[in-house]
Point group: C2
Chain length 187, copies 2
């Protein structure tokens, strides 16, 4: 019998999706085994620290993705092209609002206290990277900080309400408004 052998990197996105859909407490090992087609034994081979390690690795993975695809461009590339790029990446990453933000979801219950620094760093870096880009685009620092915070607030709030209302168009509408609002500072 042929058996598909998985690498850890193949499993992570599968497990991530379970956490995303069910939350930390809701993502039971049985749900995870069902989704990955891996037994508990195998899961513990990859993640000796169990469920908590799985979540930690996944959060790190999410963070790395955002660093590569969003934060570093904001920090290094030409500001407005990086910002334009951010909107595209955000829209596809969150699947137009059908996918939630794991960092945000974990922040809303006591799961936050397990992963305090990971969650905090993610949002701090996002806000600071966007603000820095705006500053490089000649927006005054104080104003840039404010717009950046409002933008990340808008993205997270938009994702939440998109799910709460079960309305796919809601997140798109939120993004459109945010883009319009930030574009005022374009020359």
């Amino acid at each position: 019998m042929t058996r598909t052998v998985f690498e850890k990197s193949d499993i992570i996105p599968l497990v991530a999706e379970v956490f995303r859909e069910l939350g930390y407490e809701g993502a039971s090992l049985s749900k995870i085994t069902a989704r990955t087609n891996l037994s508990k034994g195998s899961l513990y081979h990859f993640f000796p620290g169990g469920k908590e390690e799985m979540a930690a690795v996944i959060l790190d993975n999410v963070d790395q993705w955002f660093i590569s695809n969003i934060f570093e461009p904001l920090e290094k590339s030409e500001p407005w092209s990086a910002i334009d790029h951010m909107w595209q990446e955000v829209d596809t990453y969150f699947q137009s609002g059908q996918r939630i933000c794991l960092m945000g979801a974990f922040a809303l219950d006591e799961t936050r206290d397990r992963f305090t620094t990971a969650i905090q760093q993610y949002f701090v870096r996002w806000i600071e990277a966007l603000s820095a880009a705006l500053v490089r685009a000649d927006v005054p620092k104080e104003k840039a900080d404010q717009i950046s915070e409002e933008t990340i607030v808008g993205i997270q709030g938009g994702l939440l309400l998109s799910r709460a209302l079960n309305d796919n168009s809601f997140f798109e509408r939120t993004l459109t408004n945010l883009i319009q609002r930030i574009s005022v500072y374009r020359n």
Copy 2:
């Protein structure tokens, strides 16, 4: 031995706080018995439907509170005084960002699917009530809808980030910005 006899209405806020802190899955009956000083037997006396009924009753309670204190004023009172009143109530209800929104938290995992209509109705009514107030304040309907959505998005996103960053000042800052933004339409 004197025993304090509880009424259902006394228990609800205690149980609500457990759900708020731990989420639906995290709020185990043992945590709830500990917080209420009531045995499982007593809890099932008040809530024969168990945990799901507890959450449903609590969500209904939250909804009723918002209807009385925020939605109806927005729908009936002088628009700008109702909106001013909303900001005050929101700030104290969410304890300047230290308390999360149960409706929002439940929306972010599969708990949403247990309470779809309750969550949906809450946010729909809030958005529509605020928009209606703005329309009565002579803001064009389309613009009013947009501002209203942006405002509720801002409140929810602000609550989320306030917790994620563990920064009490964040929610206050968000509220200040939202108030400033909406006040542009004041005459």
